[in-house]
């Protein structure tokens, strides 16, 4: 059980799946609290390294946007570094760096996540910096214009001049017709150009309230002291109204969808996706197992078959990112110059059909589970990794304990469950296929 840290500490039920003995010390170290304004706090003290990581997760991402202001979540993430009331423009990073720290952030379809890694002595400064911007972010027209240019350059880097980004963007618009997952997290260029200051301010009031955030602190600190500081700096921030629910209006897909991207390139490429379940659905973990069995390690099913035996791909990767609403199970195939994408596609489908009919071998199942468990352990090896992993578990699976119990949850998944999931989700009529077709031979 979590140690009680204050009168507002929350008790939780033990999940039905046990936590690995090696992870028990982490589970036992977690201290949970909730401030009266709704801010959720998790403390993970450990004293191996004299540093800390401080994570703030906001429950907002591109799924909370609407057409016309796509990309605002991500643009807003940039604006969070451009000055608040106490620490003005440029001060956030300057104060942090001069206190032996560094910071970064990312925006996904579902979340906006900020973190600081820093020398342990700087904890109060970091709390002061983070709470200052949650309390009183300033969005000046000048900073907004400058940051807009930076983000447009980021879009040119990651999408407009980057083949994988380009193809991935096309794939999302193909796979989703109604759900906000159809537009890119970075947003459409025209929308980035046109987001107004008022949009940003409204966005801040709605989504950056303490009741929409979770803080994770891990590393070398004294928990009672930390909790006192958190209350002092965050306690006065007023809660916001509950954000509007995101409606998943995505209609059922009734047949394969295909698109092409023509662009100068050395070789064709394929990106193929199917809509899976939401992160809290039990099939999500079954698809984790399938993802690993298909693509992790040189002996994994698709790597062995498509890369080494049939030589129809140079590389294969499978992405199955947990999302709050049903997400995408995506296979990416890098081909050889001059390759025939249809042949590779056919070979991929043959392998997937085999899984849907016959399931995995016991050995494949064991390999996938062992690799998942090894990756889970590696993720938990650093202060930053622990705070990020447990925060992600809490937001995506409902509780951080669910994450620490993943090893035993994966252990319970059967070959038949994997077979059934492959059959249910990875069928021909549910897939979306984007082919990169090299145009003008790009100096072959």
């Amino acid at each position: 059980m979590p140690r009680r840290a204050s009168s507002v500490a929350v008790r939780t039920k033990a999940p039905p799946f046990p936590i690995l003995p090696a992870l028990q010390p982490i589970a036992e170290s977690v201290i949970e609290a909730k401030l009266p304004n709704g801010l959720t706090v998790r403390l993970l003290p450990s004293h191996e390294v004299p540093t800390c990581s401080f994570y703030t997760f906001f429950r907002v991402g591109s799924r909370n946007e609407r057409p016309g202001i796509t990309g605002i979540s991500h643009l807003f993430e940039h604006m969070m570094f451009n000055g608040a009331k106490k620490y003005g423009p440029g001060q956030f990073d300057r104060v942090l760096e001069s206190n032996g720290g560094t910071s970064n952030a990312y925006t996904s379809t579902d979340l906006t996540v900020y973190y600081e890694d820093f020398m342990a002595e700087a904890l109060e400064t970091v709390i002061d910096l983070e709470s200052d911007r949650m309390k009183s972010l300033q969005v000046t027209p000048k900073m907004l214009e400058s940051e807009r240019q930076v983000v447009m350059e980021e879009r040119r880097l990651r999408v407009d001049n980057e083949i994988v980004g380009m193809v991935d963007e096309e794939l999302s618009t193909l796979l989703w017709k109604a759900h906000p997952y159809r537009w890119p997290v970075i947003g459409w260029m025209k929308d980035i150009e046109n987001i107004r200051r008022e949009d940003c301010l409204e966005y801040f009031r709605t989504y950056y309230a303490p009741n929409n955030a979770i803080i994770y602190v891990s590393g070398d600190f004294e928990p009672n002291e930390a909790l006192k500081l958190l209350k002092k700096h965050y306690g006065t921030i007023k809660p916001g109204p509950p954000p509007a629910r995101v409606v998943d209006s995505e209609p059922e897909q009734k047949g394969e969808r295909r698109a092409e991207v023509r662009h100068p390139a050395q070789a064709p490429m394929l990106m193929i996706a199917w809509r899976g379940p939401a992160s809290t659905h039990p099939d999500t973990l079954t698809l984790d197992v399938l993802q690993y069995a298909l693509s992790v390690g040189q002996s994994s099913r698709l790597t062995k078959s498509l890369v080494f035996e049939q030589e129809l791909a140079v590389g294969v990767s499978v992405d199955w990112t947990w999302r709050l609403d049903p997400g995408a199970f995506t296979v990416m195939l890098e081909l050889k110059p001059g390759a025939e994408p249809l042949r590779t596609e056919a070979a991929l489908y043959a392998e997937l059909e085999k899984v849907a009919k016959e399931g995995l071998t016991p050995r494949e199942l064991e390999k996938a589970k062992n690799n998942l468990s090894a990756h889970l352990l590696r993720e938990l090896a650093t202060n930053n990794g622990r705070a990020h992993a447990l925060g992600t578990y809490e937001l995506m699976l409902g509780h951080w304990r669910e994450g620490l119990a993943l090893v035993s949850r994966y252990e319970a998944i059967t070959a038949e469950q994997v077979r059934a999931a492959a059959a249910r989700y990875l069928s021909a009529e549910r897939r979306a296929v984007v082919t990169l077709v090299p145009s003008n031979g790009a100096q072959a």
């Binding site: 090696a22 191996e48 390294v49 004299p50 540093t51 570094f81 440029g90 300057r94 760096e97 001069s98 206190n99 032996g100 720290g101 560094t102 910071s103 820093f118 020398m119 002595e121 214009e145 400058s146 940051e147 807009r148 240019q149 930076v150 983000v151 350059e153 980021e154 040119r156 880097l157 001049n161 980057e162 083949i163 100068p264 050395q266 070789a267 390690g297 040189q298 002996s299 994994s300 062995k304 080494f308 030589e311 140079v314 890098e334 050889k336 110059p337 050995r363 064991e366 390999k367 062992n370 690799n371 468990s373 090894a374 990756h375 352990l377 590696r378 090896a381 650093t382 100096q443 072959a444």
Partner: protein, 450 residues
């Protein structure tokens, strides 16, 4: 609130676990560090046989052979090896960088012994099966071709060629298309026999281990490893830029953004001015508040990223400024970057800037030693570059001792004036009139960097 001077730093001690060193009878040096917060182990074999020692007629041989080690050894097929490694959730792989071949293994600790058995086999007795050689050749050629689609990779390569000229550091460790096409199995076997051996190798084992037990296992699995050279080879000396002032454009007409690199001579690893240089460079182009980021990104919105770095190797090093921007802003970007380097060269950092980066580097340093892999890598660097034994333990003190004057002298001495080269990737027709003022232009096609 804004103090002019950061008060003296009180550094909490680093808890460095004991590092045991032992030389086996065959010359292999074994380093074991016991850390046991999680049941994981990182193993890193570093052999002084990197691509800088590849002969011109067999460029890429070290990397190609290293990647093939696990594709068949001691009579076991690639599949058998992969099955064994994947089954326990381990990761195993080999590659070459400029100076070393690195074979790395990461495994749950309870499978360490079995995995060291496999590591021993692929290191001692790789078979280089003919069909695996051909398969790897076809796959590598396709990967080399596909890399030409990445503007950042092209920019790095173009710069590397322009800076290092005919020195072996100029070439990618993988070799180019023509090199990979002509490598033979006999060359791979010869590489393994002649250049890859225990007397020029160090093995690092870090994590949840029993020191005596693991030493005994390694004695068994790698104690019988023989062959290779008696001494570590030396990387040839480098005489500096061949064509200072050159502007190289890699033509990708479809680009709406230009990748920019500005490069010049730097210093070798372990240079006496190391710490002043590291601190000075952090002010110029290190963290988010560096001068380059402030001037390029924050004040002007020219780019999403900008930075500078000293790349330090055994026989020399380079200094590089990197960024990117939309085609029409390229002149502003280059001019701002050159001005900032010149301003640093002329006046050095301020006391306040220096204090900030010293705290920044020192505060984050312990976090660079959090994982087993990171500890193995840090110790391997100390060994490889012949750095002082207390390099890691005293790193933060050495950083915090640097004075404003030392940092200014380092800037004066090492930042480029006229002796630099530019590499750009973008639309050459649009760029030529814009960048001709910086020096004589050479236009390359992406395939020239294949």
């Amino acid at each position: 609130m804004r103090r002019e001077r950061t008060e003296g730093m009180k550094l909490r001690p680093l808890h460095l676990p004991p590092h045991e060193v032992r030389v086996l009878d065959n010359g292999l040096t074994l380093h074991v560090v016991k850390r046991s917060s999680l049941p994981l182990v990182a193993v890193r074999l570093v052999v002084r046989a990197g691509s800088a020692f590849d002969l011109p007629g067999e460029r890429g041989v070290a990397d190609f052979a290293s990647r093939l080690l696990r594709r068949g050894a001691a009579g076991k097929s690639a599949d058998e090896i992969s099955e064994a490694v994947d089954l326990v959730g381990a990761a195993l792989g080999g590659y070459a960088n400029e100076e070393n071949v690195v074979v790395s293994l990461s495994t749950p600790s309870r499978h360490l012994e079995a995995m060291l058995g496999i590591l021993g086999q692929i290191v001692r007795e790789p078979d280089f099966p003919e069909q695996e050689v051909e398969l790897a050749r076809r796959r590598t050629l396709a990967q080399l071709a596909n890399e030409l689609d990445d503007p950042g990779t092209l920019a790095d390569r173009a710069l590397s060629r322009a800076v290092w000229g005919h020195h072996p550091y100029a070439f990618e460790s993988s070799g180019g298309k023509a090199d990979v096409e002509r490598l033979t199995r006999a060359q791979l076997v010869a590489f393994h026999r002649e250049r890859f051996g225990p007397k020029v190798a160090h093995l690092f084992v870090v994590g949840d281990v029993d020191v005596e037990g693991v030493t005994e296992v390694i004695q068994r699995t790698l104690g019988g490893w023989a062959g290779g050279p008696p001494f570590a080879p030396e990387v040839p000396a480098w005489s500096g830029l061949e064509k200072p002032g050159e502007v190289v454009i890699v033509d990708k007409p479809e680009q709406t953004q230009v990748q920019l690199r500005i490069g010049a001579k730097g210093v070798r690893r372990g240079h006496p001015d190391h710490f002043p240089l590291v601190v000075m460079n952090a002010v110029l182009g290190g963290g988010f508040t560096s001068r380059l980021v402030t001037e390029i990104r924050v004040k002007r919105g020219l780019s999403y990223g900008a930075g500078s770095a000293f790349d330090m190797l055994s026989a020399g090093g380079s200094f590089t400024v990197s960024s990117f921007t939309r085609t029409e802003s390229i002149n502003t970007l280059i001019d701002v970057a050159l001005t900032e380097v010149e301003r640093m060269r002329a006046k050095g950092p301020s006391a306040k800037e220096l204090a900030t980066v010293q705290r920044y580097i020192c505060g984050l340093y312990p976090g660079r030693l959090e994982t087993n892999e990171a500890v193995a890598g840090a110790i391997a660097d100390v060994v490889h570059y012949g750095l002082p034994q207390d390099w890691i333990a005293s790193y933060r003190e050495r950083i915090s001792e640097v004075t404003v004057r030392q940092a200014a002298e380092a800037a004066q001495k090492y930042l480029f004036t006229g002796d630099r080269v530019l590499a750009l990737v973008g639309n050459a027709e649009a760029l030529k009139p814009l960048v001709s003022r910086y020096g004589p232009i050479t236009v390359l096609r992406p395939t020239d960097l294949e």
